[in-house]
């Protein structure tokens, strides 16, 4: 297989080297990056103007970050299982990722409750509002990630994900890792620019 790939690259230097569907995923990731880049820069612009209420970031967001990192590891485990045609492991690993994703979302909501307990509401000083908006927007994207996981799980059930057809699991893995990294960026950003 590797030999064929190499042959193809030598013969066709100018044409397709990337799967179009995966390319679309990367384009989609660029749009999400721009969405959050604009949000975080709006945050910085607004923060620079003063009248900015500072508050403690609830501890649970640390826990949720760890949970999300573990889910990413599980996702990668699933990918490796698919590569080795290890279907049982694949299904278990995807399920673990899914459950951890749900747990992450639940923790985010708990985090909101802690914020409310601190008298930081969605409506009020923009510093708090931005915190809610960032977590909410990331949460919405994570829900789309969960949907992708479901789709991948169903196709894994139908034995459509295997070493010779990795496109779906690769797309799923890339997207999930991206959502993970996106959250780590947002969390670090929110901690640093309080």
């Amino acid at each position: 297989m590797a030999k064929v790939e190499k042959l193809r690259i030598e013969e066709a230097p100018e044409t397709l080297s990337m799967d179009p569907k995966k390319f679309i995923l990367w384009g989609f990731i660029v749009t999400i990056i721009m969405l959050f880049a604009s949000q975080t820069s709006a945050y910085l612009v607004r923060r620079a103007e003063g009248n900015w209420v500072e508050f403690e970031v609830p501890q649970i967001f640390w826990t949720s970050s760890v949970v999300l990192i573990i889910s990413s590891i599980a996702m990668h485990w699933a990918y490796l299982a698919a590569k080795k045609d290890n279907f049982n492991t694949l299904k278990i690993a995807i399920s673990i990722t899914f459950v951890l994703g749900l747990a992450f979302l639940w923790m985010q909501v708990e985090g909101w409750k802690d914020l409310v307990a601190q008298n930081i509401y969605f409506v009020g000083n923009p510093s708090g509002s931005f915190f809610y908006v960032f977590t909410l927007l990331h949460g919405v994207h994570l829900v789309t990630g969960l949907i992708v996981l479901c789709v991948t799980f169903i196709s894994a059930m139908r034995l459509k994900v295997h070493a010779k057809n990795l496109r779906r699991i690769e797309i799923c893995t890339t997207y999930w890792h991206f959502l993970d990294i996106l959250w780590l960026y947002l969390f670090a950003f929110l901690l640093y620019f309080r």
Partner: protein, 625 residues
């Protein structure tokens, strides 16, 4: 051979749906995944919106040209928006201006122009069977349709559609109690635009992916027609800038409906203080114009790409400075992201920052001048064929130059203090962005109509349409500059309360008459367009003797575009009037080994590469059949 097999194995699963069977009516014409059908859907929807948008401008031009005139004859159309005394309701005037801007910028010149020509030309000109994802492409059109539907519904609301200007600055747009247009109309505007953004992003992702991944054998980047380059860069602009508009709109929605204070601070309405503290309306302007400025080029670049192609074909000359054209498209696209604050010179911005943005803005004149120069030098001593498409392309170059020059004036932060929000701005962007892009749209339709419908448009009617439109556009917008320099502010219902304001009346009347004249001239085009679809002369395969790949397809292009193999590409698309050649055009799919008499010395070396090109994989999406 093993190469093909490897690809086959890869593609088998994903293309099961492309079985060759007759699709039913719904799948073939309504929820079609074929890029040509989707392109036509975009075109028809775009034309529909263009008629509505232009008709709106005629109504508010009536008010501006003839303030106080009895408009009660419009009552059957506008109902209660015409008051008892026969005057146009001022609230509705604001709504008309807002809707005209929104419709023209987003629905006609973004979706209509890019949607039509990117969809139609990208697969045909790069040599692909279809877009990278037919399903996403279909989704993109239908999201656009839904967004248009929401906007259309908003026109019929009792409180009227959004009326805060197409830029929807808060706090006006954020507070429903600020104006009747900020009630349900604004809600629908925001929902519509959110859906529109998704549609636009799906479309753009598809365009970029198709251009980069689905080019045919031999179609290197330096052999891409300039249309494709323009569409590619336009799509990249869209992918980067539209999410930012979504961001701005989201925060505005939170402010409007959930009571947050991103854009609102210390506002009194009817003597009562609002609870919102700590927001910044300028923040919205920054976010909005970070999209808003690239949007100008999203509108203009496809038109410039179409012009490059049409001018080279009909001047029977290679495009002058092919690589300079690509570089200038890229330079314009890059600069588009770092000049947004020139829309905000008078927001109390630091004057030093203002001069930086002024400097960056004026640099855009350089790549723009390169383009204008290259168009003119391509025309220079060419064997020009004055098809309607060519006329509109030359008209575009004229508008691009005359509208661009006033851009240099407006880009100055000091001059902007006088000119900001006057009709000078309106005249500037209508010429360089509105009319120029509309001319690109017309040029594209006249040029590719034979490929779209297999029939020719009537050329005489096309030429009449061009001259009336060309004269009309200049008659409308040239005098408008003077009204603006004199200080007439835009978006005003009327400006006759002071004596000096009355001195604008005759010029305004002239502009309005010219606008109505231009509006009616477009019906020549509409008649030609729909009549020729059924009764036009049947088109030959390559009516303009053009080099690009779309003219190698059958006259009536079927699903999959080419019957049999996709042609390979051996040369750039601008081999017109090549010395030594018997014919004045050599299509891209003719190898150099067949044109020994006209090859340049370095091109003879390409003959050796032909075998390599032919050995490359097909990129054929339907290859498994």
């Amino acid at each position: 051979m093993s190469v093909v097999e490897a690809n086959l194995g890869h593609d088998v699963h994903s293309h099961d749906e492309h079985e060759h069977h007759e699709l039913n009516f719904w799948r073939q014409y309504i929820f079609s995944e074929d890029h040509k059908v989707i392109a036509k859907q975009y075109m028809i929807t775009g034309i529909f919106w263009a008629i509505i948008g232009a008709a709106m401008s005629v109504i508010f031009r009536l008010q501006l040209g003839f303030p106080g005139a009895d408009l009660s004859w419009l009552k059957p159309f506008l109902g209660d928006w015409i008051t008892e005394t026969g005057a146009l309701d001022p609230n509705f005037y604001l709504a008309l201006v807002t809707m005209h801007g929104t419709i023209m910028v987003f629905f006609v010149l973004t979706a209509g122009l890019s949607g039509t020509f990117s969809n139609f030309l990208i697969p045909l000109q790069v040599g692909a069977r279809d877009m990278a994802s037919g399903f996403l492409n279909m989704l993109s059109f239908w999201l656009f349709f839904v967004s248009g539907l929401l906007m259309f519904i908003s026109i019929f609301l009792e409180t009227g559609p959004a009326a805060g200007g197409w830029v929807i600055y808060p706090p006006l747009s954020a507070l429903p109690q600020a104006h009747m247009g900020s009630e349900m109309g604004m809600t629908l505007w925001l929902s519509s635009m959110a859906i529109f953004i998704m549609s636009s992003l799906l479309g753009s992702l598809n365009y970029v992916t198709t251009v980069i991944n689905l080019r045919t054998r031999g179609m290197t980047f330096t052999r891409l027609p300039l249309t494709i380059w323009a569409f590619l860069i336009t799509a990249v602009l869209g992918i980067i800038s539209f999410p930012v508009l979504l961001s701005a709109a989201l925060l505005l929605i939170f402010d409007r409906h959930f009571g947050t204070s991103f854009y609102l601070s210390e506002i009194y309405i009817n003597g009562e203080a609002l609870p919102n503290v700590g927001g910044s309306p300028i923040l919205f302007q920054h976010l909005f114009w970070f999209l808003g400025h690239p949007e100008v080029y999203i509108v203009l670049l496809p038109a410039l790409g179409i012009t490059s192609e049409v001018i080279a074909t009909n001047a029977r000359k290679p495009i002058f400075g092919y690589r300079a054209m690509i570089a200038s498209i890229m330079a314009i696209a890059f600069l588009a992201f770092i000049v947004w604050a020139h829309h905000m010179f008078v927001t109390g911005m630091n004057p030093f920052l203002g001069s930086i943005f002024m400097f960056l803005t004026l640099i855009i004149a350089v790549p723009s001048a390169v383009k204008a120069f290259n168009y003119i030098t391509t025309l220079w001593r060419g064997n020009i064929v004055f098809t309607p498409g060519m006329l509109f392309s030359i008209g575009l170059v004229s508008l691009f130059v005359s509208g661009g020059l006033t851009g240099i004036i407006l880009g100055n932060s000091a001059l902007d203090i006088q000119l900001h929000d006057t009709y000078f701005v309106v005249a500037h962007f209508h010429i360089v962005m509105g009319a120029a892009s509309a001319f690109g749209f017309f040029a594209g339709i006249y040029h590719w109509y034979p490929k779209m419908f297999g029939r020719m448009l009537n050329s005489t009617l096309g030429q009449i349409h061009f001259w009336l439109t060309f004269a009309g556009v200049y008659l409308v917008f040239m005098p408008m500059h003077y009204i603006g320099i004199a200080g007439f502010p835009r978006r005003y219902y009327q400006f006759t309360s002071f004596d000096f304001g009355k001195s604008f009346t005759d010029l305004n009347m002239f502009v309005s008459i010219a606008a109505i004249f231009t509006f009616f001239a477009q019906f020549i085009f509409l008649w030609n367009f729909f009549y020729s679809m059924f009764k036009g002369k049947v088109a030959p395969q390559n009516p303009w003797n053009s080099n690009t790949l779309e003219w190698t397809t059958p006259v009536n292009v079927g699903h999959g575009n080419w019957v049999g193999e996709i042609p390979a590409v051996y040369r750039w698309p601008y081999d017109y009037s090549k010395p030594g050649s018997d014919v004045d055009f050599i299509p891209q799919n003719i190898p150099h080994s067949q044109t020994l008499e006209s090859n340049f010395p370095h091109e003879n070396e390409y003959i050796a590469q032909e075998k390599e090109i032919e050995a490359q994989n097909y990129n054929d999406q339907f290859a498994s059949h």
